[in-house]
Amino acid sequence: MDNLNVFSADIRKHTLRALLAFGGGHVGGCMSMTEVLAVLYGEVMKIDPTNPSWEDRDMLVVSKGHCGPAVYATLALKGYFPVETLDTLNKEGTILPSHCDKNLTPGIDMTTGSLGQGISCAVGLALGLSIKNKDNYVYCILGDGECDEGQVWEAALFASTKKLSNLIVFVDWNKKQLDGFTSDICDLGDVEKKFEDFGFFAQTVDGHNVTEIISAIDKAKNTTDKPSLIVLDTVKGKDCTFANIPQNHLIRFGTAEYDDAIAFLDDKISKLESEL
């Protein structure tokens, strides 16, 4: 599992590299979801980076589309495109726009950015696969603030009614949205319980613990009559030295902050590697 931790730290580094090239961005939400990305792309998902549109691949819909840069970093490290491309984030004519765009970026399975819509598309992918009797999985990552949208709950009711057990949805429960704490702005209460009531097999894990994430996915795959929901208990801005501030949704930063963050992550990586 340590190599997945290294991968996750590397995703953080490369996300920051992409964001630095633009002078900042959605640091908080990118940093909170790198472990699940490492698990999905490093271990769980059936993919072929040399053939991003391979018909038999598993698919991921990043419903919290503003965190595109973390996904781009993951895809670059997996070889979907050169890591240098990360430096073109948001540049004119880029293939890496601020929000996920399936028509621009190899490896992005669905266009997102308008919160609440991605999960419905993931449900549609899962429905389509089940109609076609295919055994691939569809993964989806929601933000916790995103769960304010009614559409999320429409999709949830639909997915459970249709018994889409090939759908595994994550909620990046970092407890914050743009303006502040989710509990102050629009209280989600017990997210796991809510999805359970909506007919999901629901679990909560430490979202920064790759072993826990993997075993939750295993359990989800062993559930045959229900879609699954995994609440990732995370920290917004995790492991990013300059993101430990109250307003860390959108952060502008420069080389000084970047160097500091990279030094911390490099240190973390060398410690992990010495344990390998």
Binding site: G65, N90, T112, D179, I185
Partner: protein
């Protein structure tokens, strides 16, 4: 009454600062003013406002459709709700709520959609509304406003506060060019003739106004005398002003920060073709999606830069 600035310069503050200041003034003076937002208060400088008016600043969370319904309901209790989110979510995402709970139900809501067209810049295609006005234009009884600068935006905000009905105002949050002197006032529904001329009419709105005024200067150096009309009320539109100017110039160019389909250009051409079918051309976003980039890049990509305006004006005059 308005007065043009002598020299066009960027305003010394971001538009969002002017917005929050005016909202504060209005809420201080009128206890019926409430403000609803969908997790974008910080983005439009309303965090302090929310602290100062904790019961009247309502952060709904990310649930635009619900926000519009709640605002419509609250207006029935005599409150004056202003709502805000980014333009695409303020319109596309909630079109049926605006239609039924708002316009058809005859409730009173003042909707602010931020980051009009190219001013969304690096937020890219998902966040760049070039169709917002067009969508709402087909709903009866919705008044559509696009302020030209912050002086106008603040004046219009103060006016719509006390007006009944459904209003949508598309704004920018960024620094914008100042066009009008402080203290100018504007009449909703009335077009503004910014420059008188006889060779061609150029009708424009929002952030394109500054570009058109620059193009006007450039054309003047080439001996072309353009009339510049600023239409900030897209609906109800000032047909009389359009017809009178077209009578004089016989050619009308429309420049807008919006899809040319069902935008200001479409509205103007409807008036022209039914009343005085002179030659016309629409410059704006040529029926394509937004993308990431600077404002200059986007205007060039869409063919609505100052140079494009000058070229189009000359071509149109040659076709007269």
């Amino acid at each position: 009454m308005f007065k043009l600035v002598k020299k066009i310069l960027p305003e010394p503050f971001e538009a969002k600062t002017a917005f929050s200041k005016t909202m504060d003034e209005m809420a201080s003076a009128d206890e019926n003013v409430i403000y609803l937002d969908c997790d974008l208060m910080a983005s439009i400088d309303m965090t302090e406002f929310a602290k100062k008016f904790p019961t009247r600043a309502i952060n709904c969370g990310i649930q635009e459709a619900n926000m519009i319904g709640v605002a419509c309901g609250a207006s029935l209790i005599g409150l004056k709700p202003f709502t805000h989110t980014f333009g695409p979510f303020a319109t596309r995402r909630v079109i049926d709520q605006i239609y039924i709970s708002g316009a058809y139900g005859k409730t009173n809501i003042k909707m602010i959609g931020s980051d009009a067209g190219v001013t969304a810049m690096y937020n890219g295609g998902t966040h760049m509304p070039v169709e917002d006005m067009g969508l709402l234009r087909t709903i009866p009884d919705v008044t559509l406003l696009e302020p030209t600068d912050s002086v106008m935006m603040c004046d219009l905000l103060r006016q719509i506060k006390d007006l009944d009905g459904v209003y949508y105002m598309r704004v920018t949050r960024k620094v914008t060019d100042q066009i009008f002197e402080e203290g100018s006032t504007f009449e909703i529904g009335k077009a503004l003739t910014l420059k008188e001329g006889s060779d061609i009419t150029i009708i424009t709105s929002g952030c394109c106004t500054s570009d058109v005024l620059h193009a006007h200067e450039e054309l003047a150096t080439q001996g072309i005398n353009a009339e510049v009309i600023n239409i900030f009320t897209w609906k109800p539109i000032d047909a009389e002003a359009i017809i009178n100017s077209a009578k004089k110039t016989n050619a009308v160019l429309i420049v807008e920060n919006h899809n040319i389909i069902n935008g200001l250009g479409s509205a103007v051409c409807e008036i022209l073709s039914e009343n005085i079918p002179v030659i016309s051309k629409r410059l704006g976003v040529p029926d394509r999606f937004g993308e990431v980039g600077s404002m200059e890049y986007l205007k060039e990509t869409f063919g609505m830069s100052i140079a494009d305006i000058v070229t189009a004006a000359k071509e149109l005059i040659n076709k007269k």
